[in-house]
Point group: C2
Chain length 545, copies 2
């Protein structure tokens, strides 16, 4: 594209058109979708859910009659196999998208309730099954013919039982999966179901969701997913989706997007053949001399270094595009395959690392600080004269750290303890602490140390509490380095106090690390990171000052 074309395109900040109704070729809401592209809501309010409900709300005057859509759903389930099924499925999916959010929810509940399994039939089969006698081959002398007859009867009723235990809505899912565009529809349908479940957690919706999730898992086999490099030569509709779905470091304009696909950069997407032109997950890579410490040097690195000088491939953003595929591990082979692809093109690359957010760190830390503050108050009331205090009480700060913090914040927070000061500073408006050199240097030691503890020691069911950490660790990475003030964006400060982490994939250790993390929960980490943890006092020894 020439400069003029680019500048015209850049006059308007690029807006995602995430209108699911575009699935059907004769969508009556297409013009509505175009209008939506002209508006510019604040980026942090953007989410697939929002854009869907926007569409529903503004598309109300096109909404089809609920009962007609319900009948079309019934037809899509009950119709004989080859009778113009495509037409019916097309009609149903268009009808579904035309409905308001409220009516969609009503329809999904109809689906879950009225197309459930036939419990009377199940009971009949259960009784038949219990009537069969299970003889083990060792008891008595049975002929092969008897054995064969017994097993025949078992297999027959078991097959019928399996069939009877499948809810009728399975038929709809399977038919949609065979229909062009159906897999995408199912992914959007599940996103809706998940959002309805968020509003109202009822058993019949949970059952519907668990059935659909299982189906989607088997249809999204990694052996079917294809890894492609995405470039500036790809279609605008594909690139638009990258802009829409980039979840880690939002793409601000077309020039930004072009740089992320240009020299010194790579973008790879995982595609499913039934959802063409839209990656299910994509990953952005920067080719650098060294492992980057801040996201600013990655995003603003202009011009990039010549590619033959690069020694490190840095994965700085991984985004999934389908909220409806939540809980289905699509990334499993992605990193391994991508490393293979990069190494084939550029054998001089020796380091594969990430520069990752730590999305749960601040949430964990602030709730720790807040609960310690409550515990301290309760303990003070119970033991006004002081004493050893509650065993739940823990000073998250080292004595040195607390002293520095109290010194630097003396005037404002007189009379408070170190943890209270820290809580106040971290929750202050506009992240004021980040503009004071003194506060920054007082907060750095405890934040870095507690962040290392959060990543390496805080677990849930034996896995790292942090979702991004868990993703990379189960893929076989190790925790390499913490980077102070590595992401000064509002999101970066809110999520992790500006800290980012490098995970490193050592090609020769990927299998082994993934395996030990899976079986024992062991997290491999560099000695630098482990040093933060070793230096801290063991939590058991902590007493109140």
């Amino acid at each position: 594209m020439n400069k003029k074309g680019l500048s015209i395109l850049m006059r308007a900040k690029m807006r995602p058109n995430n209108d699911p109704s575009k699935l059907s070729p004769f969508s009556p809401t297409l013009s509505n979708g175009i209008n939506q592209m002209m508006t510019d809501p604040p980026r942090n309010q953007r989410s697939t859910d929002d854009s869907r409900s926007n569409f529903s709300a503004s598309g109300n005057h096109y909404e089809r009659n609920f009962d007609i859509v319900k009948d079309s759903m019934g037809l899509a389930i009950s119709l004989n196999k080859t009778e113009s099924l495509d037409v019916v499925l097309d009609d149903f999916s268009q009808g579904y998208f035309s409905l308001s959010n409220e009516n969609r929810k009503k329809l999904v509940i109809v689906l879950a309730k009225e197309y459930d399994l036939n419990r009377i039939q199940v009971r009949e089969l259960l009784k038949q099954y219990l009537g069969l006698e299970l003889r083990s081959g060792n008891e008595g002398e049975l002929s092969n013919v008897d054995d064969e007859n017994m097993f025949s009867a078992f297999y027959r009723i078991e097959r019928n039982l399996r069939q009877a235990l499948k809810p009728t809505y399975n038929v709809l899912f399977e038919r949609l999966n065979n229909y062009t565009g159906g897999l995408k529809f199912l992914s959007l349908l599940r996103a809706d179901i998940l959002s309805f479940l968020g509003e109202e957690n009822i058993a019949l919706l949970r059952a519907l969701d668990s059935c659909l999730k299982e189906k989607l898992s088997t249809w999204l086999s990694p052996a079917v997913l294809e890894l492609h490099q995405i470039t500036w030569d790809d279609s605008a509709s594909l690139l638009e989706k990258i802009v829409t779905y980039e979840a880690v470091h939002p793409i601000s304009n077309l020039l930004d997007l072009k740089r992320r696909l240009g020299v010194g950069r790579r973008c790879f997407g995982y595609f499913h053949p039934a959802i063409p032109g839209e990656p299910l997950i994509f990953i952005e890579v920067a080719l650098l001399k060294n492992v980057a410490q801040t996201i600013q040097e990655v995003l603003l690195d202009v011009p990039p270094i010549p590619e033959h000088e690069a020694a490190c491939a840095l994965f700085y953003s991984i985004s999934s595009t389908q909220p409806g595929l939540a809980g289905i591990n699509l990334g499993k082979f992605l990193i391994k395959r991508m490393i293979t692809l990069v190494k084939r093109d550029m054998p001089q690359i020796s380091t594969f690392a990430t520069l990752s957010p730590i999305p749960g760190f601040m949430q964990w830390l602030l709730s720790k600080l807040a609960s310690q503050s409550v515990i301290a108050k309760v303990d003070n009331m119970e033991q006004p004269t002081g004493g050893s205090g509650s065993t739940f009480q823990e000073n998250l700060l080292e004595p040195d750290e607390e002293r520095m913090l109290l010194n630097s914040a003396l005037e404002t927070y007189a009379g408070k303890n170190g943890m209270e000061v820290m809580l106040n500073l971290l929750t202050s408006k506009n992240y004021e602490w980040t503009s004071s050199a003194e506060l920054l240097s007082a907060l750095k030691p405890p934040l870095m140390r507690l962040c290392a503890r959060y990543l390496l020691q805080e677990k849930k069911r034996g896995k790292a509490l942090d979702s991004v950490a868990n993703f990379h660790l189960q893929n076989g990475a190790m925790v390499e380095r913490l980077n102070w003030m590595a992401d000064r964006s509002e999101r970066g400060l809110r999520q992790s106090g500006g800290i980012m982490v490098n995970y490193v994939y050592r090609v020769e250790c990927i299998e082994q690390y993934a395996q030990s993390y899976f079986s024992t929960g062991h997290i491999h980490a560099s000695s630098d990171i482990r040093y933060y943890i070793m230096a801290q006092k063991e939590p058991e020894e902590t007493t109140t000052a």
Copy 2:
């Protein structure tokens, strides 16, 4: 490829290398596979099964110990999720291929028997389920909370029951499906299971097969299959597979193959992303002025007409490559998609037709003739003085036809009736009747008429008895024309007395014809074909002469 290269390649008749062990990269039998390419067994003995057992027999000295392969299968099922599963699956599939046919069968029976479902657990759950009380919302006044609790309990046990009713070998199938090369392995495994079932039809193998077939059906969704044109620029390994699997009109040498991919010809394949480089099904097309009447004019049409003069796309061969996918309808959307593809490139093409074999005609006719001959003898014994005879008795020949036949074959078959003469002629050595102009003209009227009856009136469960007819009719074709002496090859004479049939796809009628065939079994046919049937006496009215 230049002429010299081609001539070198053509010195040896191309041999398929159908060695399934090539799946695994370090196959010890690779050299064996190459040796196999040098041999040249009679083509009509070739089948996937044959080449597999050849491989097993000649590969015996590489066979792994049965118990080691059995353990590796057990590991592939029991291993925890991420622990080096790929390595284990690779090891198991290599081990399986190394086994002799006999040991494979033994292993498959172990799989079916020892990795079946846990019937004791199933019984436990059944009893729990029967203990639940199913209250309908109308009986009595139930609070929403009671309802919610009741459904929660139902859904939970139903989910557990569904889980418990899945045989453990499901795990192996699912893991293989996620593993590169696994889908192909499963297709080969099912081909083995089908062949073992042919030897010994036992319940546990039937249950294993039905489970695997169901899984394969859901993984081979038409939405995932991709239609590609296959050309002379494709890889030799892909083209070799076309040679191997061409089931209708064997490809005799490379020049023959090149012509089938060249000017005036098209070849399309249906590919699955997890089985790259090998179509699951492929279809050969000739671009002609008119619908061809004989296969010779298609195969030997040198040089072909310029493509812009073509008005007809003739599908003259459809072959599926995976015996392990038997019973799974892959062709469903193939014809429709291919018509779209051809029409996009060449809008001047107005007729889409086939020139198809009638694989079951002779088998049906000869057994009819033979049974009539037996019935006639029995009736003669019971009623030596003659009379109305058995109601099962039917003269398949019209009086005129019988007279002509008896006249032309007078000397050799004195004293026999028309049907006996016909049976003798059709089963004569080397199809002698095809070298006599007189016999040909005497046999043509009854064979053409009976062939029309076979195609249009002989049914099994409401569907056309002939498998190829059923395939095209369910895809929305109509029966257009019968062609006398259209395939004089040994196979053509053996299967259908040399007759071939044109099915025609009328683009605007495909949906309607498919639907009426599906729902009522109605077969659309041209008036020419229907004329044969109308002219014949109704079978009910037929009496013995």
